[in-house]
Symmetry: C3
């Protein structure tokens, strides 16, 4: 049986509205995560444009000023991860600007300073267990490859921890005009994997860009390539709905179940989700997420995974 | 006084996010429907693309695979309709593909197999009381006319029950460039009604595509044409708001009241809505729907319709 | 310390979905406003297209028919303002049509009749303390200047009360192609202020169209120009998020805090918001607004403003 054991944390957000949770709300949601079987949290961006999880001197120096940081979210998330026995992956900085205009040099330089500052301040924390490089690609992109390689080496030197990326498939749900077919996808990602094998440890493909019936085949290719290059293969089971006019609401349970089963058949190493707190949480600002959580937990129970086992991390591997 | 006595059920959805309700949630909402005066439920699509209300062999055979069906929704909706003394209309299959590309032959063939399967499995159920042909038109369309005629005849042979369609007006809210004026609307629909009189029993026009002040005139034309061709005239009082950037949220009560009154003056036979569970229910995932339900129920009470009468179906006709 | 002491009321809405509140819901929300420090409410439009806060003969005469008015909202809002010791600004009529097509004459004429009717019916009410001219501009526009001048004079003659407008900045968040830079903004608004000094008393710029780090500079220019022309300078601290795909959800607290601080440094006279009931209220249909309210109130408390002082209107000026 496959279950979701990791989630992104998306408070420094690009396109998901803030719930405006305070520390007590986050504490409650981390407990809900643990009870649902989550053992890994991934900050999707520890800073984005002028917003940051902590009052970063590096980001201020680079962009001039940042929004107020009423609560140090990085400290909070580390503390809550520690209380709940979870590993935390630190997401890098996304300027929202430099890498999109081809200035990968600047994007890397800010990130070097930012991650050094983060390690200096938080590197000793018990839950600080991984890096997440937040720049997403779908096909070969030489600029971002340079970011991955140079930033990846820097991160390993700073603190030798697993490095995760979460790319997407150039699929028809986002690129209806020119979706990448399966063989072209394989060709592109064979080339990418060959070049990142020394700076990326884990690849968690997003699963929402292709049609439901195509998904397994793409995930199987991804698993095969990951195995070929010695990379760990996770899947990012998106729990939001890409098919509705409202961008974005929680996914219907049948679609989520289908995607879990597709990942299971593709024999991936771990399932994570983007993301628990808005789309799969009993505490979400969206009532449909409360219900998705109920449907998912009912299914876990029917599948023989007890809440106790989930909370202890004793559930079967995928 | 006019009241709404029917609602669509939109769980196999095209553009409305799922609430992820389980059987108990649906049971609660059917009770709320009954208390609000609903005696008729219409499944807007019993299957759509690769999603289905039941684990249909016909759809699987046609499209290869479908999403998991954790709960047989058709069985559930029939049972709840029976418990609450309601009639259920079975919505046909929408491929989302063939009829849009002009392949009406394929759309009809899948639907023949699908509806045969449905009648074989569920045709004996007490609440199975009508057909709903889900393909929507706004003006004369010879491809869809063929679907209506061929599929309509097939449905009547399978099980002789009333056949409903719910077309829309080619109005300025959706077609600001080239809305159809009243006389052109009448001309188009005179031609359509003439051709569907032997395969469609009830026409429930959607009421949300024209400006509020134009609505009554269009509905009056529709009623007049329906009478001319011996077709029953319902109105689909849309309870969602087409005028807001968020597609879609519950309608403001003054607009709903206006549309109910416009339908009443046009002397239609019955009011239904798209749809209760998201937009007019005390159980909706949208809090504004809880309030719309309160405003509507207050108005029913002021208008002299008791809850008891509503629940017993004894309220006055329109 | 800066706090928000005014809010728009947006029930006759252009782009924010109705909560479908009844009188008791509004009463509860006015109490929440008062407890949060609100002493001024501004009806953003007392009528819009065919919707109106009261059953206006002037609007009916002009456009033929209006939507039902199940509750006289103007009377309700005046009563609740009186109960809670607030001043109410009456928003003018927005045809949504004439002024956009350049027919400013018609827009002014309807508004003259509409405001005369309002004064005849409600002018004696204690809370009726100001006018809000609802037509928004971002740069010099000779048509709207004529509306401001002619309508402004008319309003002063009808009832001599402060006249408020709430313009916006032609900034990059809405006009990414051709945003107005700071010096061009100053030039345009110097010209505008010079021409409206005898018909506008208060200008409350919307604060959501420029990047966060640019905001203070624009607000400082606005304050300087207002001072130059003897106009009172408020800021409309938007509590909704312009940066998300869902248009619109509550703003993240760090962004709200940043904007309050930017306004404070610009030494404006008062902060108002668009708007409390959807985006900053503990009663909002959006749960994230409940949390934004909590974060804001925690900050008020930390800043030494007691609830009692807020409710009594004794909090320090900006």
């Amino acid at each position: 049986m496959a279950k979701i054991t990791g989630t992104f944390l998306d408070e420094i957000s690009h396109d998901i509205p803030s719930a405006n949770w305070g520390p007590q709300d986050w504490a409650r949601d981390f407990r809900a995560m643990k009870e649902t079987g989550i053992d890994t949290v991934i900050i999707i961006r520890s800073a984005y444009r002028r917003a940051a999880t902590f009052d970063s001197e590096a980001i201020k120096k680079s962009v001039g000023s940042i929004l107020p940081v009423p609560v140090d979210l990085l400290d909070l998330f580390l503390s809550l991860a520690e209380e709940n026995g979870m590993d935390l992956f630190f997401g890098t900085y996304d300027s929202g600007e430099y890498w999109m205009s081809g200035n990968y040099r600047k994007e890397v330089d800010i990130n070097k300073a930012f991650t050094e500052e983060a390690v200096n301040k938080y590197g000793h924390r018990k839950a600080f267990k991984g890096w997440y490089m937040c720049h997403e690609i779908d096909t070969y992109n030489d600029k971002i490859m340079k970011v991955y390689r140079e930033l990846g080496r820097h991160l390993k030197e700073l603190k030798d921890m697993p490095i995760l990326i979460s790319p997407f498939i150039h699929g028809k749900k986002q690129f209806s005009e020119d979706p990448t077919n399966l063989s072209e996808h394989e060709k592109q990602w064979d080339r990418i994997f060959a070049e990142i094998t020394d700076c990326v440890d884990i690849v968690a493909f997003q699963d929402g860009h292709v049609d439901f019936h195509e998904l397994h085949d793409y995930l199987a290719v991804n698993s095969k390539l990951a195995k070929k290059y010695g990379i760990t293969s996770w899947v990012n089971v998106e729990t939001f709905d890409r098919d509705m006019p409202i961008k974005f609401m929680p996914l219907p349970w049948p679609a989520m179940l289908h995607k879990i089963q597709a990942a299971q058949r593709a024999k991936v190493d771990k399932l994570i989700t983007f993301e628990f707190s808005h789309f799969l949480s009993p505490n979400s600002i969206y009532p449909a997420a409360h219900n998705l959580h109920k449907r998912y937990c009912e299914w876990l129970a029917e599948s023989g995974i007890s809440e106790e086992a989930l909370a202890k991390g004793e559930a079967d591997p995928v």
